[in-house]
Every structure is written in C-alpha cells, then in structure tokens.
C-alpha cells in the first residue's frame, strides 16, 4: 500500500475511532474512500438483512464448516455437540463395513493416486479447479444428516442456522453448502458469519489480528471493530506440517526398522503423532536480542535450547499398522522439527519465499505493517492465534516471540532503511506529525489517549477518578470511559480465543443478527444471485442523500447482501 493510501485510510478509520461509538455509518459513508480498501471488499452492514421482526422464540443451531472438520451445536453452549472429521471411511457405500473388519483395520491406508497429501480428508478447498462440487455436496449432505440425526435429534420445529465460514469462500462452494442446508435441512434462514470475526468475539475483543493456522493455509485477518479490514495468507499451515511430520516418521522408521516397500507412514499416523506429541521450540537463542515477555517468561522456556540433557529425552511411538507392527523411539527434539520446517522455515532466507509461502511470523508482521497506524496499534496488542494447528504446545509463544523480535529490529517503516539513527528519528517525527494531523481533522473531538500513537500505554497514568468515584457493579453501567485494560495498544500481546464455533455460539446466544442473513424462499428462488448488487455501497454517492441505513421503500426489505463474501 502506498503511503498516501495509508494516510487516507487511517484518517477515515481514525475519525470513527474518535467518536464515542465507532459506527458502521462512519465508515460506510465516507465518500472519498472505500471503507475497507485493504481488503478490496467491503462489508456493508447497512444493507444487511432486511431485519424482519426479531422473535425471541426463534431457535438456532450453530454450525462451523471447516475444510477438515464440521462442528455443530447449540447457542449458549461452550463446546459443539459434535466435531466430525471428513474421514474417507465415512464416505464409503452404505453397507460397506470393511472398517469394522479387523484385518482391514490392521493395515495402513494408502493415499489414492493423483491426490495430494490428505486430500481425501478434506471437504473442500478454496481452489475449485481441483474440486468436484457434486462430491462436496454429497459428503456435506451425508455428514449433516449425521449431525442432525445423531447429535441434534431435534423435534420438527425448523431451526435457523448460524453458519461460520472462512471469509472469501468461492460462491459456487457457498452455494453448494447452502443448497444442502436449505434443501435437505429446511432451514428457514441462514446467517453467515466469518470465522475471524467469531474468533474475535470468542476472545472478548472487538478488534484483533486473527491468525488462523488451519489446514490448507494460514489466514491472517485484521479485525477492527468487528470488521475485516485486511487479510493475508500463506500455505504454511496444517497440510505442510503433516507432510513434514510424515517425512520425519518415515526417516525414523527406515533408520530403526529398515526399509519396507510401500509401507510409508499413513496420513492418519502423521496426524495422530502431530496431535499427540508434536511441539514447537521457543525462539532460538541465537536470534534473540532482547528478553521477551520479561515478566512472564518462565526459566524453562529456554532450557531446550541451552541445556543438553543426558540422556536425551525420547518418545516411543507405536505403529500398530506398520507391517509388521512396530515401535519407534524418536528423540523428543525431533518432534519439534516439523513445526520448524513447515511454519517458520528457519533455514531459508526470506527473499526466497513467494508471497503465498511466507513464514508465519513474517506474514503476521507484514499484515500489521500494511495496517493504518492506529489500527495497527490496536491489533498488535490483540494477536489471536487459532485454528487446528495452534493447539501445538509452544507454537503460540514462539510466534509471538518471533513477531516481537521482528518488530524490535524492523519497526514499522515499510522501507526498512533505518539502520541509521537519522532514519529512526525521522520515523518518530513522522508519527508525531501524523497524529497531529489526525487530531486537527477531528476538530474538537477528544482523542482518547489510548489510541494516540504518541501516548502509549496510558493505563497507569490515566486519571483514575473519572470512573472510580462510584463503587460496585452499578458503576460499570454508568461510567464514561472504558477500563484501561481494554485500551492497551502498541505492544505485541497474545490473547486467547475459544475459537470460531464458541464465538458463533456466543453471538447466537445474545441473539445478535449478522450482516449476512439469507432467507430460504429467496435463496431457493434466486440462489446467491439474489444478493444485493449494491454491496459496495460506500462508494455509491447517491446513497448518501438517503442517509445510511435507509433504502428505498418497504419493498426493498427483500434485499440482502453477501458482505465479506460478496
């Protein structure tokens, strides 16, 4: 992004920040700038669902459709009722019971020819050139039937669906999923919410940098006031990790058991080892320049690097499906290698990566770098790491440490030329002037210190009496300012999330309606084509005269939008 572009965005976002409530209207009605320029698509909430009368008796089910797992459950519950993998064994013909056959279960599953690692275990992939959507529909339909008939077992009352999807899912794929949910499961309406937003909700935040380390890719999404403002992705994620683990396991088996033709580590085995005993090393000492998490770091964190343990710790992994069944003892340190190679690629120089294969910490850094300065301040202190891979012990700490180091060495100058002192001074000066100009633009509007780049971490120095004059819980409701903890910015900080499904459950529990709500009848008539074409409303001047949120007459209630998926 060009410098001028950044300024403009920063200004438009900044304005909204400086009011009391950042409202959609502030963002959507800025005529000179598209509201979410970095994302290239806007989420026009103004023209969201027609908002038919909200009835409290409406009941929801909450479904998250990932590329490897399907989660389904009910609003207000902390965990889904079921988490189902797209296992090829579930995709056999009815009446095919071979998975229960002991002989069959003893053997390693071999991958199908021409398929990528783990492809049989996917429901979909974003690249539709390799996807037969009719098979996706078949798989999804069968799985949803299991969800409804085995785990939901509802009465016949129709349930609305809150559907959590990754942002930017291709339309044909979305149609396929919606066809099934509307067609086979009779949903009266489906509310779509994007998983980064939901991860943000499930972290208790409104803005965050959501790092979703999923199966096919890692998606970094900057969420600002519940809106996606930027996203970046890399292929460094679950699939690569799983392939790396298979390599490690193959090597160990060949070394200890000898080579057996056609008896490589299966996908399931690699996945199981990953999920059970894989881990991620803390940041290598050689690259450390400062102490990270000075207050919280426990001394053990560095032990793996520093102390050579004798005897070397090992893990013994059983391979009951190998022929013959065997056990392999692997050094504990080896189990950290896949993460190293797949996610951080520490051996390779940064210049050798394409944009879509950046190591995680560089991806996150770049995402932050391309954000307007005030949004960056907020997001960098709200780094929310989620996705299936993120559960690996040590991974979150490592990512945050690597990021911290990058920020320390590179700062936020996109040109990266301030090895010299003068450049650094220039940077400080530029930030100051930026801030001053923002303030000028705001006129009388008071600038909350927290969001002022000149005045970081105000918590300790804020005048306390503003909101401490009244004690008790009641005070919460009436005080003017937010507590200082919610204003932290400018430092690298990780915040935990309960994940997209839990976020969706919270949203549905509070009965908050989403931006994208699709009515069954309308969908069955027109499909996704029925979505309003006016989604880029923020750049259409004529809307201004009508005021935000107002659209034509009552007849227009019918329109709906695809929001971030438009």
């Amino acid at each position: 992004m060009s410098a001028s572009g950044e300024r403009k965005v920063s200004a438009s976002l900044g304005r909204s920040v400086r009011g009391t409530t950042p409202r959609l209207a502030d963002l959507a009605s800025t005529p000179e700038t598209p509201r979410t320029p970095t994302l290239g698509r806007s989420v026009s909430s103004l023209f969201g669902s027609p908002g038919g009368s909200f009835r409290t008796e409406d009941e929801y089910v909450v479904i998250e459709v990932g590329s490897r797992y399907l989660r389904g459950g009910f609003p207000g519950e902390s965990t889904p009722r079921c988490t189902l993998p797209y296992d090829p064994e579930n995709q056999r013909r009815v009446g095919d019971y071979r998975q229960w056959d002991p002989d069959y279960a003893q053997k390693r599953r071999r991958p199908k020819k021409g398929q990528e690692w783990g492809q049989e275990y996917e429901l979909y992939r974003m690249d539709l050139t390799k996807v037969d959507l009719r098979v996706v529909e078949d798989k999804f339909e069968r799985m949803m039937r299991e969800v409804y008939n085995k785990y939901f077992v509802l009465d016949t009352k129709p349930r609305r669906i809150l559907l959590a999807l990754p942002p930017k899912m291709p339309h044909p794929l979305m149609s396929t999923l919606l066809d099934v949910l509307f067609g086979s499961f009779q949903a009266p309406s489906i509310t779509l919410m994007s998983s980064p937003i939901l991860s943000t909700v499930a972290a208790g935040l409104r803005s965050a940098l959501v790092v979703d380390i999923g199966w096919a890719e890692t998606l970094v999404t900057a969420v600002y006031e519940f809106r996606e403002v930027h996203e970046q992705r890399t292929v460094r994620a679950g699939r690569l990790l799983s392939e790396e683990m298979a390599k490690v396991l193959n090597a160990a088996q060949v070394e200890q058991l000898g080579y057996v033709e056609d008896d490589d580590t299966s996908f399931e085995e690699a996945e199981e080892v990953l999920s059970r005993v894989a881990w991620c090393k803390p940041k290598p000492r050689s690259n450390r320049r400062t102490l990270y998490f000075p207050a919280r770091t426990s001394p053990i964190l560095e032990e793996f690097e520093d102390a050579v343990e004798t005897p070397e710790p090992t893990v013994t992994i059983p391979f009951p499906k190998a022929s013959p069944p065997a056990e392999v003892t692997i050094p504990f340190a080896t189990l950290a290698k896949p993460a190293e190679a797949a996610l951080f690629a520490t051996e390779t120089a940064l210049s050798e990566f394409d944009d879509h294969e950046l190591p995680l910490h560089h991806l996150i850094y770049r995402a932050l770098l391309s954000l307007p300065v005030d949004v960056r301040r907020v997001c960098m202190s709200r780094i929310v790491i989620t996705g299936g891979v993120s559960a690996m012990p040590g991974l979150k700490s490592r990512i945050l440490a690597e990021l911290e180091a990058l920020v320390q060495t590179k700062g936020w100058d996109p040109v990266r030329n301030y090895g010299t002192a003068s450049a650094r001074h220039e940077q400080i000066l530029r930030q100051k002037m930026e801030a001053l100009e923002l303030r000028k633009q705001e006129g009388e509007d008071k600038v909350p210190e927290s969001l002022d780049p000149d005045n970081p971490l105000p918590a300790a120095h804020r005048p306390q009496d503003v909101w401490h004059h009244e004690a008790g819980v009641e005070r919460e409701k009436t005080r003017a300012g937010p507590p200082p903890e919610s204003l932290v910015g400018g430092v690298v900080r990780g915040v935990e999330t309960l994940g997209p499904w839990a976020g969706a459950s919270l949203v549905a529990q509070q009965r908050i309606r989403g931006i994208v709500e699709i009515d069954r009848e309308r969908y069955l008539q027109h499909g996704l084509q029925g979505a309003s074409k006016d989604k880029e409303v923020s750049v259409v001047p004529q809307r201004q005269s009508m005021g935000p949120g107002v659209r034509g007459g009552a007849g227009d209630r019918a329109s709906w939008t695809l929001g971030v998926w438009a």
């Binding site: 909430s45 908002g51 005993v277 819980v473 903890e485 009965r511 027109h526």
Partner: protein
C-alpha cells in the same frame, strides 16, 4: 469386506433430479454430457448414490425409490439405548442429548462402562466408580469416585477430575460477581478495609480458568454490555425495544439499523472489549505452553489421547489422559420418515421403545424387482451322472481372460407381470476392463400372484416352469423361469489386472497402478421395467391377479444397479 460377493446395489434417482430446482437443469445437462451416460460405480459420487435394496424405501404417490437423501426424518421419541429409559423431549436438549442416569461409555475404547462399588467391607456401599468392561479404564485414573451408585450423571457433573467439586452455572455466576466486586473495591483502594481477604488464596489454588469458565465469563460479559447499553440511555428507552434486533445489533455493531433518527438520540455508551479474566479476557501465557511441553517430554505418548478420543470428549481441546471424562451415552431416537417431495409417510415405527415393529413401512423391495447374480458353474451335475456336485464357486478368484457364465436372476414383487430390459456397457468402467454380454437382455417376469394360484396352476414345487427342457445358453433365450422370476445367462470375461499399465499408456488417466478395490468386478446394469397396473385399484394390487376388472395403466420404472460379481485373481 465391503459386502460378500455377489451383491447388487441400487442407485436412487434423486441424484439426477437434484433437490433444489434451480440446479436441476445444470445437473441434467452434466449427465447428458457424460459419455454414453453409463453409471460409473467407481466415481466418487457413486458411494453416495448406491444402496442395498433393503435400505431403500418406496413412495407410492411418487412411484419412486426413496433413499435417505430424499427422505425427511421426524423424531417421535428419545430413549437411552443402554437403559432403554424414554427421555421426555423437554429435557433432551438440556441434557445434551445424552442419558442423564448412569449410562456411560469408555473415553478410551467407547465400550460401555459399569458402576462398581469399591466398598472394602464388601457391602456394596460407597465409594463407587465407573469401570470399562473392555479395557478396564476406570474413573479411579482421573481421581473420581461417587458417593452413590445411582444417578452417576448428576454426581459426575459436580466433580472435576482429581475430585475437586465443580461449580454449577449459578454458583459460577455468583462467584464471578463476587470477585468482580472485590476487584472493583481493590481498584478503588478500599481493599484494605475489606473484610473478605481470604479469597486471594483460593484464587491461586484453582489455576487457569477452564474452557467452560471462560465461556461463561464471556457470555456474562456480553450480556452485561447489552444491559449497560440499554440502561445508559434512559431517555430513549422507549426507542429501544429490548428484544428488538436494533438494540443488540447496534451494541455489537455487527448489524446496523441506524438511520437518521439516531442522531437525535443521546449517544449510547461505547461497547468495549473484555478487560479482565472475569470478563473472559485471557492473555497468552507462555508458561502454559512450557508446562505442556515438559509434560510431553516427561510422560510421553501414553499420557496423551488420540484425535478420535479427543473429538469424542465434551471439551475436544483436551490433550492428556488425565483430562478424560467418561462419555454419557448418546440418546437414540425413533423416527418416522417422509417422502421429501410429497411428504407422504414412508415408515413409522411403533411408539413403544421396546417394540421393533412398524405401523407403516414402505420398503422398496416390495415394489422394485430384485436383480441378483450367481455363477453358473460349468460343471453342473447332469442328472443321473455319477460326477460329484459342483465345487463351491470362488467369487474372490475370478479367472482373468476366461469366459465365465453367470445368471442374472430377476424376481418380481409386484402383482402384475413385468417386461424387463437390461442394459450394460460391453466393457466395465474402471482400470481393469472386463467384457460383459447379456445373452437375453429383454424378457418377461411373471406376477407375484397369490401363493394359492401357484399351487393350483403350477407344479407343486416352487421352481422352474421349464423343467422338461434342459436350460440352454443361447442368445435371445432365457435360461429359466419360475412363477415370479426369470433368469438369463451372462457371459463375463474378467479383465487382466496387469493390463492396467497398458491401458494407461493408451488412455492416460484410466489405467495405472491398481489401488484398493480396482480388482473388484462390478457391472453397472440399467434396469427398465414396464407393466400394466390397475388404475384406481389398490396400489399394492390386492385385487384379483387376473385383473381385467378396472382399466389398465401403463407404468414404467428405470434405475441403475451395480452388480458386484467378485474379485479378479492376479495372474
């Protein structure tokens, strides 16, 4: 093993006429584009289209096979498959769709668990434990014992692993409020005067908040935000209907109904993010990572649980065996099934849990002729000869390149005679190409007439009507025929497994190295039946089989089947 050879699968037509109308045209077009329109049993879709006949229902109104996909299911009642206790629908959801008595399955191996008394006096008194009948895992391993042998579910809900009590939702909420107040006082500098100082100790003992704690805190936080929002603008309270979407959505900023009107309202207080652990905010703590790594290093593979075990857990983010919880048994349901297109009831079980009977059950096998295949062993004993009877035909070792004769056997459940036309591709799809010739693809099958008719008109045994002639393998002639069945001969030349490589060279993508089930010989057979049924008469043809009383109506049905002949032997 998939199914024992030989077998027949039936394809439901609903895959051609897709559920949602707008896509049907596209699907039909695609079907037409496919070469010859032959059903490929190896296509990935086939697994979802093919069913054994016994699994299919039949809609009499639509005159169509109905597979699970073109049915709608309705739950009639809920029960625990283990204790057979019927669960009222009102508590099904709140109990998580699981048995709320004492039925559990093992978190390691999913076998049923039993309640045992550990009473040292042998009096079957407390303490009680749950133990797996198969792998012997028990709640002792997670430090849980029960005081009573009944109502395990309710007791377990109050005990955390290691035996510490779990708070109920209400207690959790209360405790959170208490701590919030305490925190607020602390911030106000009143801490010193507060009499309740004992809490700081218990806080530390409890460790990091659990997933459920966090969720409850977040939930309470968002709720309080919603409430503070409404109370903060008392002057416009008439504007904000508490249950209206605008209140909530504006608060969350996820969906805006803001209009010009809004400008006149007092500005509501800003929503904010969670600011403390009590509000559900959890900062990343590297020491948790470190502890998990240490534990992996120390306790190794055996201390961890498998992905499948994880997914079955109430909280699927657990990692170690010490986190396991016994799994309450999932409830089962009795369901009725309706036709998706006309809503006619297809099956309805009796309501009683212990009954396995149905009030209504429209099975496809009562409406659709059954096609089966069996080998016509070449050494059929000639009557009167002294040769030993044929040895059992080995369907798992078909001989490649050797023409082998089989019989297609078609039996008719209908009360009208049917005209059958069978069609197969001359070579089977797939990497191994076998040649198939049906010697007599068009034939009639007699009606499923009353057994008394059979007894009166036919020879006493339920057998061949052609008994006076020796069966012939001859093009255009049926092999044999009975009251409501006809069989025709098929000649099959199983393909060579090792030919696959040559095929690959000719048609890239078709051959190549063999994979699972590539050696299975399956023949797609298109079946078309025509018959005349009485109009107005009972669909089931309970009318006099001679018919002629009502007017006749021509009917036709057509569907794909897949006949699994056997497995080809490698050479």
């Amino acid at each position: 093993m998939a199914q024992a050879f030989p077998y027949t699968y039936y394809a439901c037509n609903c895959f051609d006429s897709n559920t949602s109308g707008k896509r049907a045209a596209a699907v039909l077009q695609e079907a037409a584009d496919e070469d010859e329109g032959t059903f490929d049993p190896r296509s990935p879709r086939a697994n979802y289209q093919l069913y054994p006949l016994e699994h299919l229902l039949y809609c009499e109104d639509c005159q169509q096979i109905r597979c699970p996909r073109c049915q709608i299911e309705e739950t009639l009642n809920w029960y625990c498959p283990s204790c057979l206790f019927e669960v009222p629908s009102s508590v099904v959801k709140s109990d998580g769709n699981r048995c709320n008595r004492s039925c559990f399955s093992c978190p390691l191996c999913t076998s049923p668990m039993q309640t045992f008394s550990l009473d040292p006096t042998g009096e079957s008194g407390p303490p009680f434990i749950l133990e797996c009948q198969y792998c012997r895992w028990s709640t002792v391993e997670i430090g849980i014992e029960f005081e009573k042998g009944q109502g395990i579910s309710a007791q377990l809900a109050r005990i955390g692993n290691g035996g510490k009590p779990l708070p109920s939702h209400k207690e959790r909420d209360k405790e959170r409020e208490r701590r919030k107040e305490l925190e607020a006082r602390k911030r106000d500098g009143r801490e010193l005067f507060s009499p309740s100082t004992e809490t700081t100790h218990t806080d530390k003992d409890e460790g990091p908040p659990s997933h459920d704690d966090l969720f409850a805190s977040l939930s309470a936080f968002y709720k309080s935000q919603v409430e503070s929002q409404t109370s903060a603008s008392p002057f416009s309270s008439h504007d904000i209907n508490f249950s209206s979407p605008s209140a909530y959505s504006r608060i969350m900023n996820l969906y805006s109904t803001s209009g010009p009107k809004k400008k006149q309202r007092p500005k509501p207080t800003a929503m904010r993010e969670a600011a403390s652990a009590l509000e559900g905010l959890t900062l990343h703590d590297p020491s948790a990572d470190t502890a998990a790594i240490e534990r992996l290093k120390r306790d190794g593979w055996a201390s961890t649980i498998s992905p499948a075990q994880k997914r079955a857990q109430p909280n699927p983010s657990v990692r170690f065996t010490s986190d396991l919880r016994p799994l309450a048994t999932l409830l089962c349901t009795k369901r009725s099934k309706r036709c998706r297109s006309c809503r006619q009831i297809l099956t309805k079980p009796e309501a009683k849990i212990t009954s396995t009977r149905y009030k209504i059950k429209l099975l496809a096998l009562n409406h659709i002729p059954r096609l089966s295949i069996r080998a016509l062993a070449s050494d059929t004993p000639v009557p009167g000869s002294s040769r030993p009877p044929a040895k059992v035909f080995d369907y798992n070792a078909l001989k490649p390149g050797i023409p082998t004769h089989f019989l297609f056997h078609m039996s008719n459940p209908l009360f009208d005679p049917i005209k059958v036309t069978l069609a197969t591709p001359s070579t089977t799809p797939g990497k191994v190409q076998s040649r198939v010739t049906i010697l007599c693809p068009q034939f009639d099958v007699g009606a499923n007439t009353d057994i008394w008719d059979d007894a009166l008109n036919m020879p006493a045994k339920r057998g061949s009507l052609l008994s006076d002639q020796a069966p012939q393998i001859e093009a255009g002639k049926i092999w044999d025929r009975g009251r409501n069945w006809t069989s025709v001969a098929v000649e099959i030349v199983p393909g060579f497994l090792d030919e696959s490589a040559r095929v690959e060279a000719e048609t890239p993508g078709r051959g190549g190295p063999l994979e699972e089930d590539d050696d299975v010989l399956e023949i797609p057979v298109f079946v078309r039946i025509e018959y005349e049924a009485d109009t107005g008469a009972d669909e089931r043809g309970l009318v006099d089989s001679k018919g002629g009383k009502g007017e006749k109506e021509k009917r036709e049905e057509a569907f794909w089947t897949v006949v699994g002949v056997g497995r080809i032997k490698g050479s």
